[in-house]
């Protein structure tokens, strides 16, 4: 668990950037820090691996005050991924991934195997990429290597500062998808900074919205979208927030029993926004909902979205 207790940070000569932040990132969860540019997201994140020291308050990782932990030891247990990636230009992809294990003295063969596994997991075939230099990779490929490098020493924690923000939308979405899968497999505790609401909603187990030096709202994505705590949150999450909420659900959450008059099909496991889009495209007629097996399991019409969105909870968020 990562815990911030009454953390305040003031840079010399400026107003406080963070003002009494108390926040916990539970084990195995991904918490997104979001907020306008300059709201202190990176500052808050960099307090965890002590790239910055707090003015007052404390940061706790694994039940230990980070101020009492050897800084090198602390950082080796916390993977760090940044927007500009920061690969070493003179090392090959494999050498970059093996950087930390090579310093901590992991045997060459063992760390090489680990690097290849991680590259494979990140969708870069080692045979094709291991011996390349960073400048020979696209931005998306570089960030895949950056994530593999952060995971190489198998840290329990990951800090990610806008890792996908510099990528084009298609690459970004592919990486988000792959990253979600990776997260499920590896189970790290992750603090993730972004300024992109869609990304926050897609990736976060919880979202922490920073503004004016304080936490404006902390909660599951659905809560920030559906019950914004104040005008700041409502305006930051945007006017399309009810549409964004649909992305948290599937067609299954909205469907009614099969309707013989329905024409056209949507998938049972489609995100609800995709199903809605299909319905709009069909001109408002009812459509069949089809399970992956091909069996018709229900039907959907436009009015289903208006009625049930208040009552239903997204899958996997009981009682949220």
């Amino acid at each position: 668990m990562i815990e911030f207790r009454e953390v305040t940070k003031q840079f010399a000569g400026g107003p406080p950037v963070l003002n009494g932040i108390t926040l916990a990132v539970p084990d195995g969860e991904l918490v997104v820090l979001i907020g306008p540019s300059g709201s202190g997201k990176s500052t808050l994140m960099r307090l965890v691996n002590r790239l910055i020291e707090p003015t007052s308050g404390s940061v706790w990782v694994d039940g230990r005050n980070v101020a009492d932990v050897n800084v090198v030891e602390l950082r080796r247990n916390i993977g760090y991924v940044i927007q500009s990636v920061g690969l070493f230009p003179h090392l090959t992809v494999a050498q970059n991934v093996e950087l930390v294990p090579s310093i901590t003295g992991v045997p060459a063969a063992q760390r090489r195997r680990r690097a290849e596994d991680l590259l494979h997991l990140m969708g870069l075939e080692p045979a094709a990429y291991a011996e390349r230099y960073p400048r020979q990779l696209s931005g998306g490929q570089q960030q895949r290597v950056g994530i593999a490098r952060a995971l190489a020493a198998d840290p329990a924690y990951l800090l990610m500062d806008e890792p996908f923000s510099a990528l084009d939308p298609i690459t970004r979405e592919a990486l988000q998808e792959q990253f979600l899968q990776l997260k499920r497999e590896l189970g790290q505790t992750i603090l993730f900074v972004t300024h992109d609401v869609e990304e926050a909603v897609r990736l976060g187990d919880h979202i922490c919205l920073l503004g004016d030096g304080v936490i404006q709202q902390f909660g599951p994505p659905d809560e920030l979208l559906h019950r914004p705590a104040n005008d700041f949150v409502a305006s930051f999450m945007g006017d399309s927030r009810e549409l964004l909420r649909l992305g948290l659900r599937t067609a299954a959450d909205y469907m009614r029993p099969p309707d013989p008059a329905a024409r056209g099909q949507v998938g049972l496991d489609w995100p609800a926004d995709r199903a809605l889009s299909a319905l709009l495209g069909a001109g408002g007629a009812a459509m069949q909902v089809v399970a992956p097996s091909g069996e018709v399991v229900g039907s959907l019409r436009l009015s289903d979205f208006a009625g049930s969105s208040q009552a239903q909870q997204p899958a996997g968020e009981p009682g949220a």
């Binding site: 691996n49 790239l51 800084v71 090198v72 030891e73 602390l74 950082r75 080796r76 993977g79 760090y80 940044i82 927007q83 500009s84 990636v85 920061g86 690969l87 070493f88 230009p89 003179h90 090392l91 950087l99 930390v100 310093i103 230099y133 400048r135 950056g146 490098r149 952060a150 800090l159």
Partner: protein, 246 residues
């Protein structure tokens, strides 16, 4: 064979040809005698060309060792927190060292270090320090902020960041600076006889005094070849040591 292999093989052949040429005292005497029938001494006679060449290589070698140690040392020191305050001073001193004509540096250094090989080496070192110091500083400063930030965040200590990141990233610039200094030293070392040392400048200066073009060429041709070979050797070394450079 790889491109680098071919380059290295050609280079080895070049050096072999050079050493054969400077060992062929008889050949020089005959060719120069034929080219300049009017001069009485077509080759320098108090030392063989072979001896002069090795004196020149010795001067260059000692100077370059000092230049690399001091230049890289100063570059690293002035880019650390401890030495940062001295960066402008070091920049200015090395620049002054180089804007003076080499002959002036040689003579200015005389009262400090005395006549002879020590004086020559000291003056040559001062003169060639600038490109190495400057390129070390620029190379170390060229490390991208985010890369340094990532290195810090991943738990590399200051020493690990220096040796595993900053030095390798600076290496292409440092090597290019050393190459410049090397060519400069090979050329400037021809002035060393003026402060009482040997080298390939000896026949050149003797030839200038006696209006003997044969003697001048006997020194100038090997110096030119040496500078060329030194440059190519450094370029090959750069390619070999920094394969990541496009």
């Amino acid at each position: 064979m790889s491109r680098l292999g071919v380059q290295a093989a050609l280079l080895a052949a070049g050096w072999a040809a050079f050493f054969w040429l400077v060992s062929a005292q008889e050949l020089w005497a005959r060719v120069m005698g034929a080219l300049f029938p009017q001069v009485s001494t077509p080759v320098y006679e108090r030392n063989t060309l072979w001896e002069l060449t090795w004196q020149h290589l010795g001067l260059t070698g000692v100077t370059m060792t000092l230049v690399v140690l001091i230049g890289v040392g100063l570059g690293v020191w002035t880019t650390r927190a401890q030495g940062h305050a001295f960066l402008p001073l070091v920049n200015n001193l090395t620049t002054v060292g180089q804007t003076f004509p080499p002959i002036a540096v040689l003579f200015l250094a005389l009262p400090l270090v005395g006549f002879g090989a020590t004086g020559a080496v000291a003056a040559l070192t001062l003169y060639a320090l600038l490109p190495v110091t400057r390129s070390t500083v620029l190379g170390l400063q060229s490390v991208d902020r985010p890369v340094l930030d990532a290195a810090r965040g991943l738990g590399l200590s200051a020493a690990q960041r220096l040796w595993r990141l900053e030095v390798p990233v600076a290496l292409p610039a440092v090597l290019a600076g050393i190459r410049t200094a090397l060519v400069l030293t090979i050329a400037t070392a021809t002035l060393a006889p003026m402060v009482g040392t040997g080298g390939l400048g000896v026949p050149i200066i003797a030839g200038l005094g006696a209006d003997n073009l044969a003697l001048i060429l006997q020194g100038a041709i090997p110096v030119a070849l040496l500078a060329l070979l030194g440059d190519l050797t450094m370029r090959t070394l750069e390619r070999w040591l920094t394969p990541w450079v496009p």
